[in-house]
Amino acid sequence: MTFALSLRGQRRKTRARRIPVSLIVGGAMLAIQLLLAVFPSVFAPYAPDSFDYNALMQPPSLAHLFGTDNFGRDVLSRVIHAYSVDMQIAFFATVLPFLFGTSIGAVIGYTGGLAETIFGRLVDAIITFPFLVLVIAIVAVLGPGLNNMYIAVGVVDWVFYARLAVAEVKVQKRLDYAEAGRAMGYSPARIVFRHLMPNIITPLIVYWMTDMALAILLGSSLGYLGLGAQPPIAEWGVQIADAKNFMGTAWWMSVFPGVAIVVAGLSFSLTGDGVAEKMRTRR
């Protein structure tokens, strides 16, 4: 309705000042977890791999808040130390696909033509396989371990960023400001990276946040399957794998790492939503 237009001036300012609740909550949760990831020994009551054969598979108690595992290791300490590993997985598995996929996607979207057709076929080929199966196959070839996992994820994952970037750029490049840049004689590189990029980056950052949550799940899954982080490293997936034989007798061994995965995923998702809300383009 027409009157809404004249209101915009006012509403805009209030929105700019307000930080979305999801960003505050998600950001705070992330900050705490990052703190745990960087200084695990400060917060963990025990060393992650100190065996205590006098306290095997103890249920949660004041001495061991999350209980102990079948080697008598403190579950809480292992969950905390796992933050270093899992947060690393979240970041390192996704940062290169994010940067590379976004850039290459923006270029492909802007160029169009043959490059876009070829890319389209590549996407079709890759999304035919379930993501996890593809990653497992690559890790199986390269051999287990965190670094090989990063490579495997990177080889596949950039495609999803690129696909999103292509779609966004194709919309934006039709807008007059991009045309104006061309009419001004600006170089394609300048138009893509200076003009279009800031306008397409929001959904990509949001996707990146969700992807980090997915990467944690993936890292844990691979850890669980023995293809990612290797025992005795404290990693949530590895922990759950260790716990699988004791599900009925010692639930705390698997539940607490599981909760950590959920909480980490949730905080990335919330942050992503908050970023989207905060960065929504104003016209």
Binding site: F3, L7, G9, T14
Partner: protein, 331 residues
């Protein structure tokens, strides 16, 4: 004047609750529409002209609130029960919109959409409805009516879609047609056709028409009387001849002067400086004051009320005599 129904609008106000407080989009608007007459509601974006039109027949959704009186056929449309209002709306009072593509249902044939309205507002049986639909398409100038009834909206051009909209509106033999910028999205030759169609239907069916537009050329060619709106209020009203000959509100005068006239090519146009105010931040006194070259302290202190200055002629300006006298300065 022939027998027919008149619409009387008294003190109509529409407010919207926003996070920043209530915003009055339409503020104390009063006007009449007589049978067979075209009333133009003229104004720029944000002047409240479309909101006024929608308020008349209860198309304002919460959190919008409409107050005042809209008398039609002896009843106040703002206080009748919803069922009765629905019968009036699309029945005795029909509305057409600026963008017919969004006002038509894309997945139903246009024939079905015409018949739907006939079913809601007439007692015709199936065969009669179909015959009437063909008749309506002929009336609004859609060639090959029988075949076209089977088409979907996307198979029509913009001008033809607007004709379909008008056919649907006419299905119920309305006594009053509300037209919200019906030609703004159309090309000039098509706009011309549609306006002429509305005028001829007005003559044939003795409908009253309220035409919302920002185009003064359309007003000059179509309307009998006009009401000029600015920031939610009517600032001037009267017959189209009187107003085009001698605008008495500085805003009307500025609007007319800002349209290029033949004979003054490449000369500077008399532009109104500045931009319309946001409804949430109206200046005190006359809303047009900050952009008005006639404004003085009195204009900033009090808001001028719409006052009768002749038969059927109203203006809300403290300096309307000066404005009228200054006409020669720029023409």
């Amino acid at each position: 004047m022939k027998a027919g129904l008149s619409l009387e609008v008294k003190n109509l106000s529409t407010t919207f609750e926003t996070p920043l407080g209530a915003v009055t989009a339409v503020d104390g608007v009063s006007f009449d529409v007589h049978p067979g007459e075209v009333l133009g509601l003229v104004g720029e974006s944000g002047s409240g002209k479309s909101v006024t039109l929608r308020s008349l027949i209860g198309l304002i959704h919460p959190p919008g609130k409409v107050t005042g009186q809209v008398t039609w056929n002896g009843q106040d449309l703002l206080s009748v029960p919803p069922g009765r209002l629905r019968r009036v709306r699309g029945g005795e009072i029909a509305m057409i919109f600026q963008e017919p593509m969004t006002a038509l249902n894309p997945v139903l044939t246009v024939g079905l959409q015409v018949e739907e309205n006939l079913r809601a507002h007439t007692a015709l049986d199936r065969g009669q409805r179909r015959a009437r639909a063909i008749e309506l398409f002929d009336l609004v100038g859609i060639p090959d009516a029988k075949r076209r009834l089977e088409n979907y909206p996307h198979q029509f051009s913009g001008g033809m879609r607007q004709r379909v909209m008008i056919a649907i509106a006419l299905a119920s033999n309305p006594k009053l047609l509300l037209a919200d910028e019906p030609t703004t999205a159309l090309d000039v030759t098509i706009q011309d056709q549609i306006l002429k169609l509305i005028l001829s239907l007005r003559d044939e069916l003795q409908m009253g028409v309220v035409l919302v537009t920002h185009d003064l050329g359309v007003v000059a060619g179509t309307c009998d009387r006009i009401a000029v709106m600015y920031a939610g209020r009517i600032v001037e009203s009267g017959s189209v001849l009187e107003i085009f000959d001698g605008p008495r509100h500085a805003y009307t005068r500025g609007l007319l002067a800002s349209v290029p006239q033949a004979g003054a090519e490449r000369g500077p146009l008399l532009a109104i400086e500045g931009t319309p105010p946001a409804l949430s931040a109206l200046p005190t006194g006359c809303a047009f004051g900050p952009r008005c070259s006639f404004a003085n302290d009195a204009c900033r202190a009090t808001r001028p009320e719409l006052a009768e200055i002749g038969p059927g002629r109203q203006v809300a300006c403290l300096h309307h005599e000066t404005v009228a006298a200054s006409k020669g300065q720029f023409a």
